[in-house]
Amino acid sequence: MIEEEAGIVFNRQIADKTYHMGLESPRIAAAAKPGQFVMLRVFNGIDPLLRRPLSICRVGGDGIFYLLYRVVGRGTAIMSRAVKGERLSVLGPLGRGFKLPPPGDRSFLVAGGIGIAPLISLSQVVDKDHMAFLVGYRSAAEIIPAEQVGADTSVSIATDDGTAGHRGPVTELLKANVERAGEGRAIVFACGPLPMLKAVAALTSKWNIPCQVSLETSMACGVGACHGCAVKSSSGQKKPYHHVCQDGPVFDADTVDWGRL
């Protein structure tokens, strides 16, 4: 775990309400694994008080790591106004990332909107020949240009309103892809809004395919000190609650009590 002031290398809007930021921190960049996150102090004051958890979207070879974030509230709005050269305190890399499948296994990466962020870095390390990267948006206007943020594979898109790609939820794309792929070892990685994750977890459980999900909760510390980031674990787990910041943010879908989320 490293805490340091990282210089902003760039910070630009790349889609509706969505920004891409590069931060120079060779130590964090060197240590980060796909699915891990940082706690970012969006500015140097005491209101807003807490750090913001953000997935490491990608790591460059140049000591820079990248964030992909959506402006949803005050903290992310402040971030969106930060300019090149400013230094922001970053704490990371934090949590447990994705467990990588053995080569040859088919990977299905399923994102909902900004949920694409942690999956970008994953897409760079899983076997590209056996990977499908599926992303759902509400509408074409929201589409995040995946190749611009580091996905070096093509991405299939679904939109709720049919303005781009498949019309309908991304889970329909997932179904189609899994069916098309047929027999053989497969694994699903998912990140996105809760209803989507629930649907993915239900499907993979029905199919009996392993599934790893990256979860979001409110976080005060990000390092396991406050016990704030609890999610109920499924029966049979050792602990009644997982701590997303330490035990996750990536969980095997069957270790989470989806009914209580």
């Binding site: 005491i46 305190s89 409110s218 510390c221 000190a225 016990h227």
Partner: protein
Amino acid sequence: MTEIQPDLKTSLGSLTLKNPVLTASGTFGYGQEFSSLVDPNLLGGIVVKGLSLKPRAGNRPPRTVETPCGMLNAIGLANMGVDAFVEKRLPLLRELDTVVIANIYGHTIDEYGTVAARLKGVEGISAIEVNISCPNVDGGGMAFGTDPDISARVTEQVLKKADKPVIVKLSPNVTDIRAVARAVERAGAEGISLINTLTGMAIDIETRLPRLANISGGLSGPAIRPVALHMVYQVVKAVRIPVIGIGGIMDYRDAPEFLIAGAKAVQVGTASFVNPRASLDIVEGLKAFCQGHGITAIDEIIGTMRLR
């Protein structure tokens, strides 16, 4: 301004701290979480997360929410239980060259005593801090700490079972903090720490749900500092035992306010979430503050508030 090394030592009754900065219970885990960033040996002490007799899962999430210059938490005192703590966490804490204080609580007066008894003879714990802010199950939900008599009885019960100095941590959600302070002093407490969190809540106006599943929670952070400082000042004047000031201390300029008001030491809570190194920064800042003001020992500023 000579570069003398100011003496930051302070004492809490029979306890001596190498400096007056401790980490507050529930905000620094079991001392290991931040250890790659903060060497706990450089701190005055560590107060561990509240320990109960049985392990506790804690409240349903969401458990935390940010508020103006503060945060609400309703962790629900999630913890591994006192026995697991002694077995699994204490061995590492024992290696430390600093004061380790066990924060404890119970659901009944008896249970407070039982937890204290489990720490009897246990090495590596320098003192017990008794959290009397938790809801009193027998007493209709109001916290033990809101009633001076019950506060005193909890204190007596812990003292009966404990073989270590007992510090009682007061709840600020009371009409007259001095009355509670005097009661626990009379009951035999060796020190008093305050404040615990103020009760508060927040509502999501879109969903009309409380932002915490528990509805209400404890407010901490800089927002509460003025309230904390005033209560510390009042209690210092009301009792003779040492007082530890807690509440919204973010940096080295905040800590001296509490010391000047008469606290012998301070605890740093929420600040560690914002800046994991906050406690250590405060130790270093206090040193520089003393150097800059020609103060040779931190003792020289304790309780030195002037009046106009």
